[in-house]
């Protein structure tokens, strides 16, 4: 079980917000880029044949002699897509377990709010492809949870390819939550593309020992994902330089996400990661 009942009960009291206007296929609770049938007045325009007579503003017609019809704001659903990085690099430490819980929490939040939610994984293959179900009601939570639990970190990932595929499916434009360690090549382009779909959040999952390595000496480092090996002599100075590079990497990821219209949260993998991430999202205004 990824989310305990008590945690789900607490999550039901939160709701996702979106800063951009949406353009969904179905009506919903979020302001749309289109005009529609809501109670919120938006504008006037001249009457055209075929317009609904009920929208003609007769007061203005009498006062100005111009037949104008009232236009109202439209409210669409918010298609929420959660991209979970299942590459082997997520196997390190508690990163993948943390990613599963983060994705589960966001999924449950969306379902509880009646949003259309999709869990997306990007299997490593020659041709980029997306995999994952859509759901719209909280009754679909068990299936979504089961899908998340069935995932395991293995192989590589093609984040840019996945982002291109999601951008190509324009009908589902909406906020994207990317749960990843961003150690895949081309992560920068992926973040740019995903941000252009409707903003969203980058949950950058890192292991504490990734940020502050606790080994030293003459070692052969082996990339858990690519299996490439690198002989190094790790001294205190080398560790210090590594820390600086990691800080730069985190800063670059944060800046890139914000330029793309996405919020950015660094999540340190561990038991308290979910609580800390939710607190950050509340502080960023993504959760109310």
């Amino acid at each position: 079980m990824l989310l305990e009942p008590e945690l789900r009960a607490r999550l039901e009291r939160l709701s996702l917000t979106n800063r951009r206007r949406l353009r969904g296929m179905w009506s919903g609770r979020h302001r749309s880029k289109q005009l529609g049938e809501s109670l919120d007045f938006a504008d006037y325009r001249e009457y055209n044949p075929g317009d609904d007579f009920r929208r003609i503003d007769y007061n203005l017609w009498a006062r100005l002699g111009v037949v104008l019809v009232r236009l109202f704001e439209a409210e669409d659903e918010m298609p929420l897509q959660i991209v979970v990085d299942t590459s082997s690099s997520m196997e390190f430490g508690e990163k993948f377990a943390t990613a599963q819980r983060l994705a589960a929490a966001i999924t449950f939040l969306g379902l509880a709010a009646g949003e259309r939610v999709r869990l997306v994984t990007v299997p490593a293959s020659d041709r980029p492809s997306l995999r994952g179900p859509w759901a719209r009601h909280v009754s679909s939570w068990p299936q979504m949870e089961g899908f998340l639990e069935s995932l395991s970190p293995e192989g590589g990932t093609d984040l840019p390819g996945a982002a291109h595929l999601m951008a190509a499916a324009g009908a589902h434009r909406g906020p994207v939550v990317l749960v990843s360690d961003l150690l895949a090549p081309g992560w920068e382009a992926a973040v740019d593309l995903l941000g252009s779909l409707g903003g969203g959040v980058v949950l950058h999952v890192l292991s504490p020992s990734e940020l502050d390595p606790d080994f030293s000496g003459d070692l052969t480092l082996r990339d858990i994902e690519t299996k490439a090996e690198l002989p190094v002599s790790i001294s205190e100075a080398a560790v210090s330089r590594y820390r600086e590079r990691m800080q730069s990497f985190v800063a670059e990821a944060s800046a890139r996400a914000r330029r793309s219209g996405m919020d950015y949260v660094t999540v340190l993998a561990g038991p308290e990661a979910l609580t800390a991430a939710l607190r950050e999202l509340v502080a960023a205004g993504r959760l109310t």
Binding site: S209, P213, S233
Partner: protein
């Protein structure tokens, strides 16, 4: 120092490959990380790809070289020669007589024997002989150290005398022609004259620890009084200071009185102590709160035995002293209207001896003896030790006015002599026991000596066939004669309280070296008690002085003894050093805080 296997030193050349291994680059430990991208800039710090590196002399390298050299040295089996007393076959003759209880001599002898047994190699055989009053072989031809140590530890110092001659005879009997045998006598030397010197084929290890000692040197029945037994008590000091002691008298374990005695250094005191005890009771004398060198001689016991009637007649001149003596001895009565059992010839004719006789300066002497002259004021020079008749009696200070000079035939045992002149003799005339005094008792100070009644009782006891004596009381080491019932068994309880069960066909119990009271219970076939008796084994008074002397031997002059050396290897010390080196190396590698040591919780090692 020499080496038994010097070729093993070639193993020290393994130092070269060890150093080469240190010059080779070590294989790096693999560590999985999520991505090596962030570490790629560090690759420039990896040294060149040559398989060699400059040798760094580390503590681990030094310790490993030391361990390797030590191992090679160990395999080379270094040894040194150590002089040893052991031979291919060594017989340890350990003195367990009463004098060895003085000032820890026996414990020191046991320790020495244990040390010798430990030193023995696998090729050396060891036998152990108990040189107590009845010598015995404890273990023979053993190459098992545990067996030898067990035999040595099983020995116990007793209260009897030593039979060194017999023990050496046993030891020589263990010699085999195929293997040179060395005899080591671990002893304080025994009493003077107990051994014919010099002793050949044996080495003597002397134990001569000394200490102040006070001993009960004689304890026997004296002249019985009215309804009471008079105990003869002699206490001797072998101390360098004046000793004030108290001797407690006990009858069947209950205190009935005590005697306070003050003894000057090297002095002795004789007392006749009346004790309210009857026949069959055990009388004990104990020096209370004695803190001296030999605890075994602080206690003496005696079982008052019954005496049958002995008819005695006195012929010749006679004397009031003899009359008083005969009248006072229990069970002795004048032969009136009956043939005497023993005749005392005091100055009369001893020409015809037809019964046991105590002959005192007879005229004429018995057949086969001729009086050749007389000697005035002889000086006693010898009193035969261990003689039952002279037990508790010291005649060395006897003053005599005149003695007969005799021409003796064979068969006479001289108990007391003045030079070559016999003073007291034992012999047989016409098949009858005879005690011969060559001096007139009246012309000596014997009648006024406190031991005169004891001597008289012993003589009549001997002549009467031991009827007055107590077979139950004897010196420690004297076996107990047993008379178990048919199909029955015997249980002997020793002075220390331990019991020994004996089968019905066992008629002698020889483990009587410990002084004290022995309880003998005779059981029938069903295990029911049929009869019981007690016996006492006394500390041998001759052992009380605790004198020690070096026994002259000829064994040390032999070439074998001079060349006897032991090859002792250094292996245990080298092994200990190697262990220390390995421990230090372990500490250097794992126990010492090190900046290079990998901390726990690092990435997963591959």
């Amino acid at each position: 120092m020499s080496l038994l296997a010097p070729l093993a030193l070639a193993l020290a050349s393994l130092v070269i490959p060890l150093v080469v291994l240190y010059m080779l680059k070590s294989r790096r430990q693999r560590l999985e990380v999520p991505s090596i991208r962030m570490w790629e800039d560090e690759e420039q710090y990896v040294s060149a790809s040559l398989p060699w590196q400059r040798l760094k002399v580390t503590a681990a390298l030094v310790l490993q070289i030391l361990a390797l050299l030590g191992f090679a040295f160990l395999l080379a089996r270094p040894f040194f020669r150590e002089a040893t007393l052991l031979g291919p076959h060594t017989v340890l003759v350990i003195d367990t007589s009463g004098s060895m209880a003085t000032a820890g001599r026996f414990a020191a002898a046991q320790a020495e024997a244990r040390g010798l047994a430990d030193d023995a190699s696998d090729a050396q055989l060891i036998s152990v002989v108990d040189a107590g009053p009845r010598p015995r072989v404890v273990t023979a031809f053993s190459r098992d150290p545990a067996t030898v140590l067990s035999a040595i530890d099983g020995l116990a110092v007793g209260g009897g005398g030593e039979d060194l001659e017999g023990a050496l005879r046993l030891a020589r009997g263990l010699a085999t022609p195929d293997r040179p045998t060395k005899i080591l006598l671990l002893s304080d030397g025994g009493v003077e004259g107990a051994l014919l010197e010099p002793v050949s084929d044996a080495s003597h290890i002397l134990f001569d620890q000394v200490g102040d000692n006070v001993a009960i040197t004689a304890f026997g029945t004296g002249v019985p009084g009215e309804g009471a037994a008079n105990m003869f008590l002699e206490v001797s000091s072998f101390s360098r200071r004046t000793e004030s002691i108290s001797v407690q008298m006990l009858v069947d374990g209950l205190e009935v009185g005590s005697v306070d005695i003050e003894l000057a250094a090297a002095e002795r005191e004789q007392r006749v102590v009346p004790v309210d005890a009857g026949i069959g009771q055990t009388v004990e004398a104990v020096i209370v709160e004695a803190d001296d060198a030999n605890p075994l001689d602080d206690r003496a016991a005696l079982i008052l035995s019954g005496a049958g009637d002995l008819a005695v007649t006195v012929t010749g001149e006679g004397s009031p002293f003899l009359d008083a003596l005969l009248g006072a001895l229990p069970g002795v009565h004048p032969a009136v209207g009956e043939p005497p059992d023993v005749v005392v010839i005091d100055g009369g004719s001893a020409a015809e001896i037809d019964r046991p006789a105590w002959i005192i300066a007879p005229d004429p002497p018995p057949e086969g003896i001729t009086v050749t002259g007389r000697l005035d004021n002889p000086v006693i020079t010898f009193q035969r030790p261990g003689e039952p008749i002279l037990e508790d009696v010291d005649l060395t200070s006897l003053a005599i006015g005149e003695v007969q000079l005799l021409d003796l035939g064979p068969g006479w045992l001289r108990l007391v002599t003045a030079g070559d002149v016999p003073i007291v003799m034992l012999g047989e005339v016409n098949g009858h026991r005879v005690v011969y005094f060559t001096f007139d008792v009246v012309r000596s100070n014997l009648p006024v000596d406190v031991t005169f009644p004891i001597l008289g009782a012993r003589i009549l006891d001997f002549l009467g066939g031991n009827r007055l004596g107590s077979a139950a009381t004897a010196t420690a080491g004297t076996p107990l004669s047993l008379a178990p019932p048919p199909d029955g068994s015997t249980v002997v309880t020793k002075p220390d309280g331990t019991s020994v069960s004996l089968e019905g066909n066992v008629v002698e119990f020889a483990d009587t070296a410990a002084p004290g009271t022995y309880q003998v219970d005779y059981l029938d076939a069903s295990g029911a008690l049929v009869e019981h008796e007690r016996a006492v084994r006394q500390f041998a008074a001759a052992e009380a002085p605790g004198s020690a002397r070096q026994i002259a031997t000829t064994a040390d002059d032999t070439a074998d003894a001079q060349d006897a050396t032991l090859l002792r290897e250094w292996a245990p010390w080298i092994l200990a050093l190697l262990l220390l080196v390995v421990l230090v190396e372990w500490w250097v590698a794992y126990g010492r805080p090190s900046p290079w040591r990998r901390r726990s919780g690092a990435g997963a090692a591959v």
